[in-house]
Amino acid sequence: MERRNFLQIIGGIGTIAVFPSLIPTRLFAENGQMFVGYGKVKLVDALGKPLLAGKLKKETAYIFNYPFVGTPSMLIDLGTATQKDVTLKSEAGDEYVWKGGIGKESSIVAYSAICAHQLTHPNPKESFIKYFKKGEKTVSCSQDKVIVCSSHMSSYDPASGCKNLGGDAREPLASIVLEHDIKTDELYAVAVVGVGKFVDYFDAFGDEMEQYYKGKREAKAEVSVQTKTVELKKYSKEVIGY
């Protein structure tokens, strides 16, 4: 099991370094809930076969629901190594360290696809969140290789922990902590670091939970064992981005 994807949380009394899969259920940093370990969940394709890191299409956004049945997350192989040990700050001022991408090239990342600004997210009907690959222009910011929520033009840099680049968002997208099994090339989601927005999300989208997940209670269930991972353009009928 690759070990570089451990996590640091900077708190008032020092630094905690952990391997996410070793955390049984939840770990709360002393400054709140900047890190929550959830069940270890295998990423699988639409047929239920393990998603292999080496088979991911480069610079292609995939969606898998994690940590809850109704909360979409985005997986991308950026194609190039990410930055490492990026210190990020929440809107409330809490700091945490994003360790970097995983996989052979240290290029695979995952984030909550719920915008840190006003909770815009992909659903089966449409997505206003999109990854702009190399050379693809967005009006939200001056660089490419970014995740943009086009409803309010918040943009994030996935190669540096999804720190804010433009728009009104005041904190990064929450990061999904991944593990990569070097022997099998399989990918696992194990935790969330950053501000997940899940409570506000479930509060705001009751109707949507009913429509797509049979109800809020069902949508709030934690994902277990495995989670289906599909390309964003297949997850949402329409992907809209500026």
Binding site: E91, H117, D168, E238
Partner: protein
């Protein structure tokens, strides 16, 4: 006297009958705090509510009180879709109660009207009582200036025209009156008069409305035109995108007249007279939407704040502190920064002001140049078609202006990468609705 009978703020005792106060105010014991961290916000629009929420999120020990003259919140952004009769848009969608966010985020809400501001004593005088402050935030929005635009009109004429030709730039009865007129209209023309001079609320709004009402006439098969009487030379906000849309979708409906100042309105005979090439032209209308000059709310005058040459509040550097008084901040439509008066800008400025206020109240510092330039600080969508829903957009980068020392906005009106080559798209129409839904989530849920 019992504590519940008093409204006591920052060492000032006043001082209002409890029966006049909202339940939120009554249960907020913090209003009697003398912690030195009392913030009073005048105005419960996008800017004021953004400040209130951001302050409480950042520092729960700050006592925040919002003073608002209206009973309910109503949004001007997105309201043109309601006027245009877009499917699924209701008046209720544009409104919200103030109590829910006050309770959720922990600020006080008091419905009242401001009648005076004593900056020396740090007191806001209202119809409900006096409110002391350590920091005052003014987010009162705009007022209309019929008198300056039509100096020959007396108060009765202004009252009559404002009622019969509702502006609908300020939320409430004006929108309902205009909607009623549209619902009841016969074949004939709709005349739209954008503010003919100076800075005004939501620069693309009159032209979005033009599009929405043209779409309404098209859908309802009303015989007539939407006639725009503007004083610009056609260089209004998002002009190329609007013009392209009007040419494509409403070639026989929208009729734009630039450099066409209004001379008079005859509400009895439903005619409007304007000048074109130095000649008076009088046309009949079925519905007239006259948006007069805008000016800052009289509340700004009550505070005695220095204004810019165009009448908006002079700001200190690139922050939201007024130039006149470091304890008085201004957000929203009244700021003298070179930024568009949009809902998104009001929210952005409200959040940014809150950072500086929190620093000030905690004897810390905030670099007002931090985060600038701010990419996509403002995004503003305009719906241009109701069936199907299609929209255009503009985004602004906010930069520190070396000439003024304030914030300036750099616009960009993009075309979607959908291969159509057009400014408008259905995708942008969906984004428009999501923008509005997101804003409501931000302020209320």
């Amino acid at each position: 006297m019992q504590r519940r009978d008093l409204f006591k703020l920052v060492g000032l005792s006043i001082i209002a009958s409890a029966s006049l106060l909202s339940p939120i105010s009554l249960e907020a014991s913090s209003v009697s705090s003398t912690s030195g961290k009392d913030v009073v916000i005048v105005g419960g629009g996008f800017g004021g509510l953004s400040v209130a929420k951001a302050l409480k999120k950042a520092d729960k020990s700050i006592n925040v009180t919002v003073l608002e003259k209206r009973e309910i919140f109503m949004s001007c952004p997105y309201s043109n879709t309601y006027l245009g009769g877009m499917q699924g848009v209701t008046f209720e969608q544009l409104t919200h109660d103030y109590y829910a966010p006050a309770a959720k985020y922990g600020y006080n809400f008091v419905q009242c009207e401001v009648i005076g501001i004593d900056r020396e004593a740090k007191v806001v005088k209202t119809t409900t009582g006096d409110f002391g402050y350590n920091v005052l935030v003014l987010a009162p929005g705009i007022a209309y200036d019929y008198t300056k635009q039509f100096p020959s009109w007396d108060a009765q004429k202004i009252s009559l025209v404002s009622r019969e030709c509702p502006s609908a730039l300020m939320p409430g009865s004006e929108h309902l009156a205009l909607k009623r007129q549209l619902d009841n209209m016969n074949d004939g023309n709709i005349v739209i008069v954008p503010p003919q001079k100076g800075k005004f609320r939501c620069p693309p709004a009159p032209f979005e409305r033009t599009s929405m009402l043209a779409s309404y006439m098209k859908q309802k098969k009303i015989k007539g035109k939407v006639i725009v009487l503007d004083t610009s030379d056609g260089t209004f906000a998002k002009n190329k995108a609007f013009m392209e849309t009007w040419s494509d979708l409403y070639p026989n409906i929208v009729e734009y007249h630039g450099k066409a100042p209004i001379v008079d309105v005859d509400v009895k005979n439903k005619t409007i007279t304007y000048k074109e090439n130095e000649v008076d032209v009088t046309i009949k209308y079925e519905v007239c939407n006259l948006m007069p000059y805008n000016k800052v709310s009289p509340v700004i005058g009550m505070a005695g704040l220095q204004t810019t040459k165009n009448g908006f509040v002079a700001m200190n550097s690139t922050g939201f502190q007024s130039k006149t008084d470091p304890n008085v901040y201004v957000v929203g439509d009244c700021v003298g920064h070179g930024v568009p008066a949009s809902g998104q800008t009001a929210i952005w400025s409200g959040k940014r002001a809150s950072l500086q206020i929190v620093a000030q109240l905690n004897n810390s510092t905030f670099d007002v140049k931090s985060g600038l330039p701010a990419q996509a600080a403002n995004v503003c969508y305009s719906m241009v078609n109701t069936n199907p829903a299609e929209a255009i957009m503009v985004q602004h980068e906010f930069v520190a202006d070396a000439d003024t020392g304030n914030i300036n906005a750099v616009p960009n009106v993009p075309k979607p990468a959908d291969g159509s080559g057009k400014f408008r798209s259905k995708g942008t129409g969906k984004l428009t609705t999501e923008w509005y839904n997101g804003v409501k989530r931000e302020l209320f849920s």
